[in-house]
Amino acid sequence: MSGAALPDSRMTVEAPGRHWSVIILRNRVIGVLIFEVIIAVVFVFSSKQFLTISNLNTIFLNACILSILACAEGVVIITRNYDVSVASTLALAAFVGFDLIKKYPEVGPVLVLVPILIGLVCGLINGAIVGYGKVSSIFVTLATLSVYRGIVTVYAQGHQIEPKDIGDWVRNTVTGSVLPGISNLALITLAVIVVVSVLLRYTRIGRQIYAIGSNPSASTFYGLKVSRVVLGAYALCGALTGLSGFLFAARSSYVVPWFAQGLELQVIGSVVVGGISVLGGSGNVVGAALGAMVLTTMDNGLILVGTSEVIRQLLYGAAIVGACTFDAIVLQQVSGLLKSRRRRGTRR
């Protein structure tokens, strides 16, 4: 009986890998890229200024820093946690780092390490409480969000960093170009994306990050040190956030205590749009970087078309909700497929 039913069921269920949800899941990065091209084409036709060298350059450079942040946040989200304190970490790292650059100009470029180290420490604090304390990450980072921001404000005491306070080398690290034609900012961004994606894809800790994100308890039983890996993910996120704090501040040349406030919504938005599942364990940072590109392009295009700020504010929120919902539908389809396959397997 079951033997006779088997060929039928095999024919009715589509061959695995052909179902639309599986195709989407496998090619998410290409999907984001296609989406990017579509919105770019729309804006090319709706605004004359969009397709100019200087505008494309602006979009690209604006997207760079958001891409690094999306990379950083992506690593944490892959472990099924969140970090909503990125904007505050960034501000703390940028402000303290630039304040030291202002006070000790003779030390020179070594001071680049200061923001990165501060970011690292902030990330370690987040990671230690989330990883070892097993407290919900959103609450921990919500607390550190305000703590880090409070520290910057207290540290600043009403002062701010102005362009005259910083040496030329700082600006040159961002605006200059070692390779002719490509700005350093783009090079650094590219390097970060490549390093992080290689780290996630080809190293042991990278695979552990994915394993923990897709099933934390199974990873524990398998013998992975879940707390330590989560700590590592947060540390990496913090260090990258510190780096982007330096780049962001060097690019804008002004640092105020409320620097980058509210940026976390954009960062999480780009990660989610880039196809990293908020349920953890899937997606990659190239997608997250592309997601940052998509959001920046939309933002830029909507400004050029003359849309009001309301719509653009709406965009980030709607992007998160939309991408989440889409993601959930695809995942439900895929897990349905897997279940039906498993059922056939047991019958056999």
């Binding site: 909503v84 959103i138 607390a143 550190t144 999480i268 700020e309 709406l314 909700v321 989440c324 439900q332």
Partner: protein, 321 residues
């Protein structure tokens, strides 16, 4: 409780203004009214193991649309009804979105927070509304005091706490909230509509944000799209400090009331001692962090001690052999 007394003493030492009855009542109303109301809604959502970050944004939508209705000349009763219905609907929208696709509530409500703020900006515009936008009936809830002493909003808060107590601790629905928060699957298997329960908690959260908006209008007599943008930290700190388990299923309303009193007193005391805003935020954030770390420390100490006891017992039994 001891904490509350300590902080009252500390605050009265810091500022001579602190210790007088009127001031205490006033401070209760000012610093804790809205946060307390939001915290009730937040707690109900947290009890089932979810989170709604968009509550302050719902409050903002409510304040600006309330102001719009007031400008249009709608009588207070009608607009209050519309407002509460709107708030409940916005909360329910979150809940339905979360349960129908089984989405992670944190990401969805973070996104909805952005959406709702934008909607509030669309309704209220950049300038928002000033005191002249509101009729006397509109500000009654937040501003007036009965017999000149007891603020209406305080009475409202107490009433809400009583209702919430009955709902959470004395009703079938309340037991279901705890059941869902502790073991969603078991609750589902015992024949309850878990999705409806979860969605309804978001509705209650939204309703509380709406009531919070009523109080807000009276207290500040202004409405802008960025109203109460920073209250989330305070509310979450109240929840965490009050012993409500952030993973759901544990916590009592009494603990929440105590922590609201404590945090409100601390914040009020800091305000009277001329400590500026950012430092206050820093302190509240540190308290929130501490409220999460201290139980961990206690647990770790307990674990070490039980291990020591075990080794002691082992060595004792080994000695007896």
């Amino acid at each position: 409780m001891v904490f509350v007394l300590c902080s009252v003493v500390a605050a009265s030492l810091l500022s001579p203004l602190y210790l007088n009855a009127f001031q205490i009542l006033y401070s209760l109303q000012q610093t804790m009214g809205i946060a307390g109301i939001l915290a009730i809604g937040f707690m109900v959502v947290v009890l089932v193991g979810e989170i709604d970050l968009s509550l302050p944004a719902i409050l903002a939508i409510c304040t600006v649309s309330f102001a719009r209705l007031s400008v249009l000349g709608m009588p207070f009763g009608w607009s209050a009804l519309i407002l509460l219905a709107l708030a409940t609907a916005l909360g329910l929208a979150n809940g339905i979105l979360v349960v129908s696709f089984s989405l992670p509530s944190m990401a969805v409500t973070l996104g909805m927070m952005g959406v709702y703020r934008a909607v509030a900006l669309w309704i209220g515009g950049y300038e928002g509304f000033g005191a002249d936008a509101f009729g006397p009936a509109y500000i009654f809830v937040g501003e007036k005091a009965i017999a000149g002493v007891v603020p209406v909003s305080l009475l409202l808060l107490v009433a809400l706490f009583v209702i919430a107590y009955l709902l959470v601790h004395r009703s079938v629905y309340g037991r279901l909230l705890y059941a869902t928060g502790n073991n969603r699957r078991a609750t589902f298997l015992s024949g309850h509509n878990v999705k409806a329960i979860i969605a309804s908690t978001y509705g209650i959260g939204g309703l509380m944000a709406g009531i919070g908006a009523l109080v807000y209008i009276g207290q500040y007599q202004s409405a802008r799209s960025d109203n109460e943008a920073n209250i989330l930290l305070f509310v979450v700190a109240c929840i965490a400090l009050g012993g409500v388990n952030l993973a759901g299923g544990k916590g009592t309303l009494f603990g929440l009331i105590m922590s609201i009193l404590l945090l409100g007193t601390i914040q009020n005391g800091m305000g009277l001692a001329n400590i500026n805003g950012p430092v206050q935020v820093l302190v509240i954030g540190l308290i929130l962090l501490a409220s999460m770390i201290v139980p961990l420390g206690i647990r770790a100490v307990g674990r070490v001690r039980s291990r020591e006891e075990r080794t002691l017992q082992n060595s004792a039994s080994a000695g007896s052999k």
